[in-house]
């Protein structure tokens, strides 16, 4: 008993005293395959800076709570990568995060990606972990076996869907369930459609609430998404989409025979189905094409608009060692570890698609570099009340059969309040 007590005491003291060195506290939300990759980046940094100890906390689901609480309690981590641009802007307004303008040299970040972290003339986020969203995943073997071809326009996509339907298959597998975050895969669809039916300018106005949610152009985007369900293109119909987890939603493409043929999701989804099925080969068993354009007027130059997302790095304390680590994250060393370990895209200015082993990553990286119109995920740009609240639940309500005008009016009411 006494031994137990002593060891408890020692442990308690160790908990307090282990931090005499210069310490950088990092909190991230990647418990999975990304965790060891991030740790390799940390190790590389510590090897260069033996006097600095980077302590990593991994908090998945509860990170918004923990971060908000610790921030309000004056006890935040030093640095965190996160996708919540809207929230980051609120933090900037409250003056709780560091303006990195003259502290961090962004010359190593792809210049197209830097502005995503800017706000009111300051730099609050370093966009170094990008993801490309506007992708349709398909199974090339099944496409070949059925004589299906990759559609280049929305109308070809619809024609293909009709053909699949006529052959007795389901064109799309959609999964919108994501536990407490349910709804977000649906908002990605809507955002991609807004970019393709109304154009980037309207998209920006919509995200900044300069046009209301009841605007006919926004309504059209919802209806376009809804028509996939109305026409019976979605595996399991509305209930199927609402009850399928996003992580499982690509699985039907790989069943024999396939239960569905196409799936709309960002680059990260390959991690999921590769986990569920052994031996899939990128480029052979699965491949991607961009969601085609819809209205020519919305995309005058004919290029395909790209929806991107990913994590920006925000700094809460401006001690030199923290800034040093933030700077290191933008380095080629860090970017290479990230993309070679995970097959993720690179934000580094020198990133060359040819260097990537996976044909998927190569394609996506090319899209990222070549896109003339790219926009960050709108739901992450909106205030939390909309982006993680009314928009998510609005999409769910709409798919579950609630009248669209009612849904849009509800989101608009919340938006009136939030902006």
């Amino acid at each position: 008993m006494r031994k137990l007590l002593i060891s408890l005491l020692v442990l308690a003291l160790v908990g307090v005293a282990a931090f005499a060195q210069k310490v950088v506290n990092v909190m991230h939300g990647w418990p999975g395959a990304q965790a060891p990759a991030f740790q390799m980046i940390v190790d590389a940094f510590e090897a260069e800076n033996p006097d600095i100890d980077v302590v990593v906390e991994i908090v998945g689901r509860d990170r918004p709570t923990i971060l908000a609480t610790k921030l309000a309690g004056g006890n935040p981590p030093d640095l965190t990568p996160h996708p919540w641009i809207g929230t980051m802007r609120q933090w900037a307004d409250q003056g709780v995060i560091v303006d990195l303008t003259d502290l961090v040299d962004t010359s190593e970040i792809n210049p197209a990606l830097v502005p995503i972290g800017e706000y009111k003339g300051g730099l609050y986020g370093l966009f170094i972990f990008p993801n490309v969203k506007s992708l349709i995943w398909y199974n090339p073997k099944q496409f070949a076996a059925n004589g299906y071809e990759i559609p280049n326009t929305w109308y070809e996509l619809l024609a293909l869907s009709e053909q699949i339907l006529a052959d007795g298959g389901a064109p799309f597998s959609i999964g919108i369930e994501s536990g407490p975050a349910s709804g977000w895969p649906g908002t990605d669809w809507i955002e991609d459609i807004v970019l393709r039916t109304a154009g980037a300018e309207v998209y920006d106005k919509w995200v900044n609430h300069e046009i209301p949610w009841t605007d006919p152009r926004i309504k059209l985007a919802f209806e376009t998404f809804g028509s996939l369900f109305d026409k019976g293109y979605v595996l399991g119909g509305p209930i199927g989409a609402l009850t399928t987890n996003f992580g499982d939603a690509a699985d039907p493409l790989f069943l024999d025979p396939p239960a569905a043929f196409m799936h709309h999701q960002a680059t990260f989804i390959q991690g999921f189905f590769n986990d569920h099925f052994d031996g899939l080969v990128a480029g052979e068993d699965y491949d991607i094409f961009p969601l085609p354009t819809i209205t020519p007027k919305a995309t005058p130059d004919g290029s395909i608009p790209l929806l991107v997302s990913g994590d920006v790095v925000t700094v809460f304390n401006k001690r030199p060692e923290v800034i040093k680590f933030a700077q290191f994250l933008t380095s080629e060393t860090a970017a290479n570890i990230w993309s070679s370990e995970l097959g993720e895209l690179s934000a580094h200015v020198n990133a060359d698609p040819e260097d990537f082993e996976s044909p998927i990553t190569r394609k996506a990286q090319e899209m990222l570099l070549n896109a003339t119109v790219s926009r960050y995920d709108g739901s992450d740009l909106m205030p939390g009340e909309i982006g993680t609240g009314a928009f998510w639940s609005g999409v769910l309500d709409y798919i579950s059969g609630i009248d669209l005008d009612t849904v849009l009016a509800a989101i608009e009411a919340a938006a009136q309040d939030a902006y």
Binding site: G15, N75, H276
Partner: protein, 284 residues
């Protein structure tokens, strides 16, 4: 006689068995799922193992291996123990003092104060963090085990005090009268008489308090942190989840791994859930 008794008791047995069946079906599903591989889990219902229940091949230990080889699982198990055992002990101890005070000592505002304490059960913990945290930081309690013991103790006190109070208030007055004739102080009475006869009640309060602390994630993340050297088992398991979206097979195994210790505690305390000493000593 025996046969008649058996027939008379049939409805009783049937009702109990129906309850037991309904309660165990979801858990059984979880148990079976935890031994199946992911493709089977996603493909067919867990009950499909029954026709060929004992044929091998449909079961595997993969999920458990996956969970047990997860990041710093041993450390986090130990951390959970270090967090929950002292916190449960301290809170049960303080609660039994308070319960006795509220039940048998006389002072002004006793009832209102007691109801205030109980009513505070309703405060959502999330709302308490932000005011408390800056003070914790100043006192250098943030990130320490004593810090989280105190927090868990305080958060558990309203309910534990309430439950123990209910038991102690039911102790017959004669017991105290005879004790005070013998000249025992309230403290002696409490220690020598009340605590021993309250063991069954304390045991049941202990087990639930232990469970709640064992299963807590939020309080630990706030007052300790997610650092591997202090984070509890619940964090390892939560990170197992978010991580891959929905790896049901790992989650199911993880649920059993995290349940194991609380169940051991429950079984070992079950011998206290017996006919109490009071039952024999009291006249109606």
């Amino acid at each position: 006689m025996n046969r008649r008794k058996l027939i008379a008791k049939t409805p009783l047995h049937v009702t109990i068995l129906v309850f037991a069946a309904i309660w165990i079906i979801p858990t059984l599903g979880l148990l079976i799922t935890s031994f199946r591989d992911p493709t089977n889990i996603a493909g067919t219902g867990w009950w499909t193992v029954f026709p060929k229940l004992f044929s091998g091949g449909q079961y595997s230990l993969e999920n458990y291996i996956g969970v047990l080889s997860g990041q710093s699982l041993g450390q986090s198990f130990l951390n959970s123990l270090i967090i929950s055992v002292p916190a449960t002990a301290i809170s049960t101890f303080i609660a039994s003092f308070a319960a006795f005070g509220f039940a048998w000592m006389r002072f002004n505002g006793r009832k209102v104060l007691f109801m205030l304490v109980v009513g505070l059960m309703v405060i959502p913990l999330q709302m308490t963090f932000i005011p408390v945290l800056p003070i914790y930081k100043k006192l250098q309690l943030a990130g320490t085990f004593p810090g989280i013991w105190l927090a868990h103790t305080a958060y558990g006190l309203p309910l534990t005090t309430y439950l123990v109070h209910n038991f102690m208030a039911g102790i017959p007055k004669d017991l105290f009268d005879s004790a005070s004739i013998d000249g025992a102080s309230p403290f002696m009475t409490f220690w020598r008489i009340v605590i021993p006869i309250s063991v069954p009640a304390l045991a049941s309060v202990f087990i639930f308090q232990f469970l709640w602390i064992w299963n807590d994630l939020l309080v630990a993340l706030i007052y300790l942190s997610a650092r591997p050297n202090v984070a509890p088992l619940t964090l390892s398991i939560a990170n197992l989840v978010t991580n891959r979206g929905q790896d049901w097979e790992l989650l199911t195994a993880a649920a059993f791994v995290s349940m194991a210790l609380p169940l051991v505690v429950f079984f070992s305390l079950q011998r206290y859930f017996v006919r109490g000493i009071l039952a024999g000593s009291v006249k109606g």
